[in-house]
């Protein structure tokens, strides 16, 4: 179920660990699988477990413990907003409210066209740049005031 490209990435992760500790690569492999598929369906988790020679339940435990794995389909763009205290002091709550107004969905919801999923996140370690978002787990956006939010949404084609 994984492309040759994804399998090559898996192999590179496994090589970081001692030969008898392949399970160590599970977090990275699940992240690669999610990047390739958009989310983590049960077959993908099982596929990663089989690749690493570990019980599927152990891989599922990992996938369900860490909150950047998506065990349900998400929109093309998943925007996670930090509302933790340091961000909230500098507009984190309001940035989230503005996004909800613009997209017409609440936290944990996806727009009807399947384009955006909105999530409320915990500390991203960028509190000096608040308000802060992460798009698709990969790209961090700083100082997200209304003008910057408008621009971000326009860029998400």
């Amino acid at each position: 179920m994984f492309s040759a490209d994804t399998l090559e990435k898996f192999a590179r992760e496994v090589a970081k660990y001692p030969a008898d500790q392949k399970q160590s690569a599970v977090m990275a492999c699940l992240a690669h699988a999610q990047e390739a598929l958009g989310w983590l369906p049960p077959e993908a988790i099982e596929g990663v477990a089989n690749y690493l020679g570990m019980p599927p339940i152990a891989a599922y435990e990992v996938a369900s413990f860490y909150n950047m794995y998506d065990l349900k389909p998400v929109g093309k763009y998943k925007i996670t907003v930090c509302t933790n205290l340091p961000c909230a002091l500098s507009g984190g709550y309001h940035a989230g409210e503005y996004l909800q107004q613009k997209l017409g969905v609440g936290y944990g919801e996806t727009t009807a066209d399947g384009k955006f999923t909105l999530k409320e996140g915990e500390c991203m370690g960028a509190c000096g740049d608040a308000p802060v978002f992460i798009v698709n787990n990969r790209s961090m956006c700083s100082h997200m005031h209304p003008e910057q939010i408008d621009k971000l949404l326009e860029e998400c084609k």
């Binding site: 599970v26 977090m27 413990f65 340091p86 002091l89 787990n137 790209s139």
Partner: protein
């Protein structure tokens, strides 16, 4: 970059180039010279650890444990694999210093880890990087490739016979993995649930092998300590609080950001470096060491200097050096509600007092904030927190209890006001204005 106005920067000196993170720039700044000196001049492991001890470098991740002492716990002659692990799982609310070290000076971390590995006889290492800073995880991997190609890590480093393989491992959203044994579980490909200690990682760590875990800033300080000598590094700070430290300042200041200052610098000086209070408003409270540190009222923190001992005497802890500044527009009930939600959300669920207690604390603070508080709620909160602190495997339980305890202690009257009047002392529009969020265009 937000290193404005740093006094005598050490770790972050000379980082104004366009590619300060590249190997070429790091070497031009004198990078990898200390690793070379140690390996080529055949310094002993004791010499290196001795220099670190002299510097009185204290762990920069939060606990402030003396680094040199920690290193001396490693059984250097233990046969087989030994590990050094770097904790870049920076998720303590308010903390964003390791992100800037990774962004601008990743090779200092690599050199520090290689020196640490030499000193402790370790042959493998991992840097565990917060999943949220993906771009910097990739940058660190690129830095590892450069260092490997240049022969600073890998087999037979600089022809010395010393081997050290180093890799990056990323997290994927779990605050608890900043706890060192949860982090080890996570590298082993499991849920990040802390281990019971003892055994400590120095005897039973990653894959059951001797392991030492230090924070990113701690490792990044090592080359500079060896360059200037432990004693000179110590003298940059004050006795028992050696060196400079990065402080991440967030919240209601004009210029939030990272500031590298000598330990022992007055809080008032740091506040001035940040451009003072936003809008010239009055300082109300400061959380001086990340969200887990007890909150300090303005008059107490204004008399403190920024170092482990002074902040501890003031009733809090320096922690990770994350300074969360709050002005008079803050509702302390709402502030605590958000922190309590965080600990409830991030409790790993292993210990009952923490799993259940954090849920209760959030629930009760939430109802007070939302006008449904009951007169007995303050006693209830004190009772719940007292049943969490000290009764869990790891420090997350304490970390969840301290904010509640200190907010009630110093700002209890605001909680009482909320309960009695079913509303906040600080009007909502004043709170909004305090956030500095640009008004939504009509």
């Amino acid at each position: 970059m937000a290193m404005l106005g740093a006094i005598t920067p050490v770790l972050m000196a000379g980082l104004d180039g366009d590619n300060s993170w590249s190997l070429k720039d790091y070497v031009a700044r004198g990078g990898y010279e200390q690793l070379k000196r140690i390996l080529i001049n055949k310094m002993t492991q004791e010499d290196v650890i001795g220099e670190v001890k002299k510097s009185v470098l204290r762990g920069r991740g939060g606990a402030g444990f003396p680094t040199g002492l920690k290193w001396s716990f490693m059984p250097r002659s233990f046969p087989g694999d030994k590990y050094v692990v770097c904790n870049t799982d920076e998720g303590e609310p308010g903390t964003f210093k390791d992100r800037d070290i990774m962004r601008y000076n990743p090779h200092a971390v690599i050199e520090g880890m290689a020196i640490a590995a030499f000193a402790m006889g370790a042959n493998r290492g991992y840097n565990y990087v917060h999943g949220e800073i993906w771009e910097l995880y990739k940058r660190f991997e690129a830095a590892l490739d450069e260092a490997r190609a240049a022969g600073f890590i890998g087999q037979n480093i600089l022809g010395s016979g010393f081997n050290f393989e180093l890799f990056a491992h990323h997290g994927y959203g779990a605050y608890i993995c900043g706890e060192e044994t949860a982090l080890l579980e996570s590298i082993e490909g499991k849920k990040g649930q802390p281990r019971f200690k003892p055994p400590f990682p120095a005897s039973f760590g990653l894959y059951g092998k001797p392991t030492t875990i230090n924070n990113t800033e701690t490792f990044a300080s090592i080359p500079f300590i060896l360059k200037m000598g432990g004693e000179e590094f110590l003298n940059l700070g004050k006795p028992n609080n050696g060196g400079t430290k990065l402080f991440s300042v967030s919240g209601h200041v004009n210029r939030p950001g990272n500031y590298e200052i000598p330990l022992g610098t007055p809080f008032a000086t740091l506040l001035e470096m940040c451009g003072g209070m936003r809008g010239g408003r009055k300082l109300k409270a400061v959380i001086p060491g990340g969200s887990s540190a007890p909150v300090m009222p303005a008059d107490v923190i204004m008399d403190c200097t920024m170092d482990y001992d002074s902040i501890s005497k003031g009733g809090s802890m320096l922690g990770s050096g994350a300074v969360i500044v709050m002005d008079e527009t803050v509702c302390m009930v709402k502030a605590l509600e958000r922190l309590s939600f965080f600990y409830h959300e991030e409790s790993c669920g292993q210990c009952t007092p923490c799993r259940e207690g954090t849920a209760w604390m959030y629930k009760v603070v939430h109802r007070i904030e939302n006008g449904q508080g009951r007169p007995e709620d303050i006693d209830l909160l004190n009772s719940v927190l007292g049943n969490i602190a000290g009764r869990t495997i790891c420090a997350l339980g304490d970390a969840a209890a301290f904010p509640v305890q200190s907010f009630l202690k110093h700002f209890g009257s605001e909680f009482e006001y909320h309960i009695e009047h079913k509303t906040c002392l600080v009007p909502k529009d004043v709170q909004w204005a305090g956030s500095g969020f640009h008004k939504i265009p009509a």
